[in-house]
Symmetry: C2
Subunit: 205 residues, 2 copies
């Protein structure tokens, strides 16, 4: 109890980096220990097993990702502005955390049952003010009737997918680093425009 948390903290930081870049199966306890600057036995002293250490980290990442989304979805601005802000925020988030999305999706793909154990309260997303406002506008006939989740996934996929697929996109576009960044910057402008135009295109056709 007297010890400052630095050792535990160092382990979590190091383990987070290793797991995110190599995945569960590719990560080595020794490598995590080395990166944390401690002995391998310490990992087991603090977290008992590789699985437990991983679960703790994965749970934290998943939960912060979830909270992040919910917070934005409940911002007190109108739906149109919120689509723009959502895109902007996701752009910032994935730019700073490029390896988190692929890490989450990959581990979830290999271990789908992990999700049931998590009990993340996803109804907070369905019940967010963003979803509610969209539904209200749809009922009023102001915007196209569609599943609000489709709208959210437009934003997710529009901004998260390119980061996951960066090596391929950069190859197709023959980009260097700057090229890809400006591609993403363009995207940040286009995505909300596309979605909003689509939703507003009601009376036509």
């Amino acid at each position: 109890m007297k010890k400052d948390i630095s050792t535990e903290e160092k382990i979590l930081t190091a383990a987070g980096q290793i797991f995110k870049s190599k995945g569960y199966a590719g990560a080595r306890m020794q490598e995590i220990a080395d990166k944390a600057g401690i002995n391998k036995a310490m990992l087991h002293y603090y977290f008992r097993s590789k699985k437990m250490l991983f679960d703790k980290i994965f749970k934290e990442i998943l939960s912060s990702f979830h909270q992040n989304i919910v917070k934005i979805l409940n911002d007190d601005i109108n739906w149109e502005k919120k689509i723009i802000v959502l895109t902007e925020r996701f752009f910032l988030f994935v730019s700073k955390n490029k390896d988190i999305p692929i890490f989450i999706f990959n581990e979830l793909h290999k271990n789908p049952e992990f999700f049931q154990k998590q009990l993340l309260r996803f109804e907070t997303i369905r019940n967010s003010s963003f979803f509610k406002e969209l539904k209200t506008e749809m009922e009023k006939g102001n915007i196209v009737k569609t599943d609000p989740l489709q709208v959210l996934i437009h934003i997710f996929s529009g901004m998260i997918f390119p980061v996951i697929a960066e090596p391929i996109i950069s190859s197709i576009g023959d980009f260097n680093n700057d090229g890809f960044e400006s591609f993403m910057y363009q995207r940040k402008e286009i995505i909300p425009k596309i979605i909003i135009e689509y939703l507003k295109n009601n009376g036509e056709k």
Copy 2:
């Protein structure tokens, strides 16, 4: 020389399945051997090492993915119809090969230098009739000026991302299997509509 290729073929099929579902680090040579119905030593007899076996399979998957795209991009139909067809085809492809995209992106993420070795000719995508026609229409002022690659990535992300993120989307939407499928079916209709509307929305604003 007398032997038919069935053994090699069986190995490749089995290894493909295991690698795709577990990734390189998670795959076990013994498991591949079992699935192929042969002895572990045979894997080494035919492919020398795990790395070589993996490289061969990864190369094949990447290449077939690439060829698949190029073929569709050069279909002899106009751009508008092509967006619809592209979306449809990607929908079918990812539905039948749900674990290929995440596998490719994940392994590429862990081993980015693999790409340089591949020398896939991505200019065939930039030079496809789809890209050319979009550029022509943009110059004529018939559609909004934008990078054709952005349009392609709209389709990719719109259809591929949801498959990668299926567990999360199903949780948010509280879907069972059918629920997710009908979500994707809706999506297949929405995505081309959104893109085409956006491109045609030229004079306004």
